[in-house]
Amino acid sequence: MTSENPLLDTTRPPPPPCVVVIFGATGDLATRKLLPALAKLALIGELPAAFGLVGVARREYGDEDFHAVVRDAVAKYGELDLHGERVWGDVVREFRYVGGDYTSSETFERLAAVLEEIDRTRGTDGSRLHYLAVPPSLFPVIIAGLGRNRLNTPLPQRQDAFVRIVVEKPYGQNLRTAQDLDDCIHRVFSERQVYRIDHYLGKETVQNILALRFANGVFEPIWNRRYVDSVQITVAEADGIGDRAGFYEQTGALRDVVQNHVMQILALTAMEPPITIEADAIRDEKLKALRAVAIPAVDRVHDSVVPAQYTEGWVAGQRVPAYQDEPGVQPNSRTESYVALLLKIDNWRWAGVPFYVRTGKRLPKRLTEVAIEFHTAPHLPFKPQQTAALEPNALVLHIQPDQGVTLHFGSKVPGKGFEVRSVSMDFHYGSTFPGETADAYERLLLDALTGDSTLFAASDEVLQSWRLVAPIQQAWERHKELSQYPAGTWGPPEADRLLERDGRSWRRP
């Protein structure tokens, strides 16, 4: 369609006309994240001129009630000033609302009628982006409803139109439920229509892993077992579970973070160079990397995985309760708030290089980073005391909160003597490129509207991630040795021993 419009800037064409349909439009995700992101996109001119939004939810609201919900959500969670809110108010007036039970065909019939009307009056061409901002238990019923009412494909006469669906995580609770969900989706939508969102992948620095690795000649030649000793991935949160006890008790750190965020970061770190930077090429390489990750035997899981739960402690100068004393948590809960694991990648590039992963809540600070630790120099022509303060070289990719790259290397301490000490060279994105970075949801919504699936997980990737954690889940169902760590520390001693037995230690971020 863009080739027919010579006025378009082909380096960044805007999204084509379409209607966004948000299921769960009055819920938490929609009001906190989606609507503020859409407001921002609308006001900076990134949404199509021919655009519509239909909110769908159970509440029996009228359009004007919904407009109030949208305005309030953006006023509360958005970043608009008064001028922005006024202009957004004009945009909102055209939004529509369909209330009703998701199990009722009548709800979808009314939705179809509203969509047809918007197409006719607003020129939205029959293109739709369905966004499932509802609990996962409602995914199958909504997907089935869309299929029954032929809202899953464009009308035959609309050749350029698209219909896409965005599915939020968690994508299943285990391999079986993920497979069931996948089957359910694929009965109604083709894989090309499905956008599985992982807001982590909207982060600039995750994308910068691709740029760092594949746009520079200096890193890729040493990005392998010959030069890399080990890799550490840390996804740390200082917060506890807040008011999400109901969700977190059912999920735990393994499912909440490892199965999705960690596996995506691992895949981007370990993958081979893609042929192009297009979605399919990147997904193919990520999948190959995930397939090369050794799946642990159920009876050996305890050798390489350490689940733990925090006890009371101090974080950021505040005394915080133990996990089991958090509001909404069962006093005898066995849910892990932390997990450390050792992963191995069985391919030529990474054979013998351990990937150590840790993630948890109530750790000393919020950060996500990937540390590539290199082998030490094969021979040090110095006296031992001259290099006592020398650490192995490391390249650390910071993902949050401060995005950047740090290179640790040895340098002579100035002076008469000869002492070599580790120094670090920092590159902060914030210093070099201080402009405003798009919020993850803004970026991902825009990508879904323009049909760029690079930052969304493919079905194969998601299922492979579940295959990797499935033995851990099975082993824990039989027996879960839950370690403990005081809140405000980097994890339990058992996690330290995971590295100590290999002669290594966790980095102190």
């Binding site: 369609m1 027919e4 419009n5 010579p6 006025l7 378009l8 800037d9 380096t11 805007p14 084509p16 006309p17 921002k40 609308a42 006001l43 900076i44 001119g45 949404l47 199509p48 001129a49 021919a50 655009f51 970043e79 608009l80 000033d81 001028h83 922005g84 202009v87 004009d90 945009v91 197409d119 006719r120 009056t121 607003r122 020129g123 939205t124 061409d125 609309r158 050749q159 350029d160 139109a161 920092d426 590159f427 902060h428 914030g430 210093s431 070099t432 201080p434 402009g435 405003e436």
Partner: protein, 332 residues
């Protein structure tokens, strides 16, 4: 969506006469040594703002460069060229601490150089030692277009101009020719980008796109330079005959397009309201769909425009077509 401001603090200053780049570099390092983060310096290019004999313009360029340095990691130099004056070189250096809204502190330098006498005719040689090695050199001409023989451009990888401030049409032809040899960033073009994107977006969609092939009337209003660039863009992209395009002087930018397709008429309009800080766009097909959109319109500073403009590498063929096209309008 207001942008939080940086906090700026002076660290120290230095000045010298008839000295070379080595001495200036040493002075900058010494001043940076007074600050904890002074050793940390990231740069992505060298920017030279070249100002002719105009004190007010020199001050303006200094202000812009100061703002640019606070946001973008560059080495920036303001050079005032005075070939007719008594020979000599004056240099002023000021090092400042910028605290960004994120809390990040960076050290930035202001370097202001006045070059007098014959040296001013050989700025290509004079400025080379001041540029950072292996990084692109950008020359910004705040109020004019490059001359036919502009020595400094021999050392430049890109030139920044503002065609909106240029009234001389023949000079624009020179600019189009220069762009064949060297990438050119036109701040007027950068300033108009949101308007172009919004207008282009009005024609997206199966029902409206065919009207692009049936444009019958285009009316572009605005200030002369800006208006000509916008009209040139429409003419060159839509291959319009000059007789279709009408230009009208006005204080604010607006565009009206009327088009036909299969006997149906459609109108497309865009109007910027700089006082309100918004731009309104609308499209409608007779008896068919219609839509409108209002988006916020910021008035970016010259520093922000330079920053945005330099983010795009290489030649921009759409711009080249636009600066070439207005000539045809004028000569009709």
């Amino acid at each position: 969506m207001a942008t939080p401001l940086n906090r700026i603090r002076d660290i120290g200053s230095w000045s010298g006469q008839d000295i070379d780049a080595t001495v200036v570099d040493a002075a900058v390092k010494q001043l940076r040594g007074l600050h904890g983060r002074g050793a940390l310096q990231t740069a992505v290019f060298t920017l030279i703002a070249l100002v002719d004999d105009d004190r007010a313009l020199g001050e303006y360029a200094s202000e812009v460069v100061r703002e640019l340095c606070a946001h973008t990691p560059i080495r920036a130099l303001v050079v005032v060229s005075l070939p007719a004056s008594k020979p000599g070189v004056d240099v002023r250096v000021k090092v400042r601490e910028v605290t960004r809204p994120t809390g990040t502190k960076v050290c930035v330098d202001d370097i202001f150089i006045q070059v007098r006498g014959p040296t001013a005719d050989h700025l290509d040689f004079f400025m080379e030692p001041y540029t950072l090695p292996e990084l692109p050199v950008v020359v910004w001409l705040p109020n004019r277009l490059p001359l036919a023989a502009e020595p400094l451009l021999d050392k430049a990888d890109r030139v920044v101009v503002d065609s909106g401030r240029i009234l001389d049409v023949s000079a624009l032809a020179g600019l189009a020719r220069l762009s064949q040899c060297m990438p050119v960033t036109d701040l007027c073009w950068v300033r108009q980008a949101p308007l172009r994107q919004l207008l282009a977006g009005l024609f997206m969609g199966a029902e409206v796109a065919p009207f692009l092939r049936g444009v019958r009337h285009v009316e572009v209003k605005g200030e002369p330079g800006s208006m000509r660039l916008m009209a040139g863009w429409l003419m060159s992209r839509l291959r319009l005959s000059p007789s279709v395009v009408h230009l009208l002087d006005a204080d604010t930018d607006s565009i009206q397009i009327r088009a036909q397709h299969l006997g149906n008429c459609a109108h497309f309009a865009l109007a910027a309201n700089y006082d309100e800080g918004e731009v309104h766009a609308e499209a409608g097909i007779e008896g068919g769909p219609s839509y409108h959109r209002t988006v916020l319109l910021t008035s970016p500073s010259a520093a922000a425009l330079i920053d945005h403009g330099l983010a795009r590498a290489g030649r921009d063929h759409a711009w080249e077509g636009a600066v070439a096209a207005p000539l045809r309008i004028i000569t009709v």
